[in-house]
């Protein structure tokens, strides 16, 4: 996805991404600021149009007419980081949750649907919260109300952008436990965007690591986080407290600008393998070819790295 910049030039925020979310699957999309994860999420919600490529839902590509998008958004709902910002302070919780139904013209059984959504989000008994205002609720309860607002339309996927980052640490667990329960009870899939690898470890089935607009490693959480292959993933995991990796690798510098993506492998300027000469055998490829992680079967672990790519073997 390209964005024009003032003064000319383009910033390619998302570059060649293949990402699948299966029904009832929780996928974490992880990366640091500026890696393109929020732009990607906006594209998945139809809030931005891709410059190239497509977003598909249940096998059919997204169409961008107002009507098509409205229908799509019943199935794919968004939850943002800050519940206080998402809830209108002058609306009761009932109205906040009912809003989605009203926008989509669903009039029958409104009260029952709102009650069911609140209940599923853990606000019980739901009637107790109908007349409450956001400021009367705790942080965790507010985020549950936001989730109820998403659930009331009976979506199949939730896109959650840092769903617990604004909550106090001791409260995060209840929201994460809720997302897991919704997955178990309703087969609700989720794409959770976060910079917090611990969160991914806590609830995700699969994880995709993004660097400068590209997914550089993707696979089951247990594999990617305990046996990371891509040098960037290895560095990120290694600096966490009590890391499964023995030595912390603190990378120098920060993510480069999406307007000036390096040639060849985009991680090369910061890559410890390249810098140390351990990648000498493939150095030419690192300088000229940018690998992409192709989407594949759910259980596979893929790496966009010339040195550490995992060869496909028939039954491995």
């Amino acid at each position: 996805m390209d964005f024009g910049l003032p003064g000319g030039g383009t910033a390619r925020a998302v570059d060649g991404v293949d990402l699948d979310v299966a029904p009832g699957e929780i996928v974490a999309l992880a990366g640091e600021s500026g890696c393109g994860k929020t732009t990607l999420a906006r594209a998945l919600l139809g809030l931005e149009r891709a410059t190239r490529g497509s977003v598909s839902f249940e096998g059919a590509p997204l169409r961008y007419s107002t009507r098509a998008l409205k229908a799509y958004r019943r199935s794919v709902q968004l939850i943002l980081q800050d519940p206080t910002g998402a809830l209108n302070p002058r609306h009761t919780i009932y109205d906040a949750v009912a809003e989605g139904l009203r926008i989509h013209g669903i009039a029958d059984g409104e009260t029952e649907r709102v009650a069911a959504a609140l209940s599923r989000a853990g606000l019980r008994p739901p009637e107790k919260f109908f007349l409450s205002y956001p400021h009367e609720l705790s942080g965790g309860q507010r985020q549950r109300a936001v989730i109820a607002g998403a659930l009331v339309l009976e979506p199949s996927v939730i896109v959650a952008d840092e769903p617990v980052a604004s909550l106090d640490a001791s409260v995060r667990g209840e929201i994460l436990a809720l997302l897991l329960r919704l997955r178990d009870e309703m087969d609700l899939g989720a794409l959770v965007i976060t910079h917090d690898l611990g969160l991914a470890w806590s609830i995700a089935d699969r994880i995709a690591i993004m660097y400068l607009g590209r997914i550089v490693e993707q696979g089951p959480v247990e594999r990617v986080l305990t046996e990371p292959r891509h040098p960037y993933t290895r560095a990120l995991v290694s600096v966490l407290p009590d890391s499964p990796l023995p030595e912390p690798v603190v990378l120098a510098g920060e993510l480069p600008d999406a307007a000036r993506i390096p040639s060849g492998c985009r991680f090369r300027p910061r890559c410890p393998e390249y810098a140390s000469g351990r990648a000498a055998a493939v150095a030419e490829a690192c300088e000229s070819e940018d690998l992409a992680v192709a989407s594949a079967e759910a259980s596979s672990h893929q790496v966009a790295c010339h040195l550490h790519r995992i060869e496909r073997r028939a039954a491995a």
Binding site: E32, S33, S138, G139, G140, D168, A169, S170, V171, R172, G173, E174, L176, A177, L180, H195, L197, G198, W201, S202, I203, V221, E222, L225, T226, A235, L236, V237, V239, L240, P241, D242, S243, P244, P248, V250, L251, A252, E254
Partner: protein, 334 residues
Amino acid sequence: MTLLQIRDLDVTYRGPRGAVPAVRGVDLTLEAGRTLGIAGESGCGKSTLAMAVLRLLPANAVVTGEILLDGEDVLTMGWGRLRAVRWVGASIVFQGAMHSLNAVQRIGPQIAEPILVHEKVTKAAANRRAVELLEMVGLPASRARRYPHELSGGQRQRVMIAMALACDPDLIVADEATTALDVMVQAQVLELITGLVAERGVGLVMISHDLSVLSATCDRTAVMYAGRVVELGPARELFARARHPYSAALGSAFPVIGDAASRRRPGGLAGDPPDPAALPPGCSFRPRCPVAAQGCAAAEPELLALPGPGERHSACFVAQAGGPVVVDAQGSRS
């Protein structure tokens, strides 16, 4: 001599709703060259505590107790002496310090400013020191001529650290100094801070809600809840095996990658941290406590040394009686 001694510190804010106790009877010490982590969430009093160390609290804050910095009480110092101590005796790095920089002044002069105020040096010498400090925090000298908006968040935070080091203080207080930063930038900044602490024998107080980061960076951790220290002990052990139910809950919010026990089992507490203006009777943690017992509503537990090795202290009646502070997955206490 002990670098920092906080004795029976109380801070109460006087406001339209009456008196709000933010810090209640806190005792802490820190030796030079050591690191103390203070862990806690909204409303626990940790930031009030940090500001109190340099008397940076607003006029409506009533402070009692003692804060001894190298033996001198900050709270009763004369104004002139206090000015001399700030930046030189102790300095603070705040969260979102990136927003504390003067937007219309270049970086170099901002770092040079405390040097010029406190030392008899020429402007040129101060600017040279500023450049050295930038290099010490991993930023190129050319940044001295830039304005804050030309730097990234991580870079601005490093500028604040450079400023905090400018006058060679004996004590640095870092209040959520890395919280808003990306993982890798946080690692860079922590590496920098701990390296400087080790090299220069500076004392460091590190405040964070992230108990796992404190366990990896500090010698000891004090956990604060509702204005009091509820647990104190060696940082790693406190994180690995808490002796207060709140510390246990806080620790479980930061799962260790690779630990199968924390896969798909997010830990946490219901409710919110309490409003300091409306604390419950007895132990302030009782409403959210998974192991609360009979006596917990009657009185607030004191922070006492627990029997056994390792210098563990806990303000929990159950822990003090040798009981378990967590309920395991099967519902039984462990």
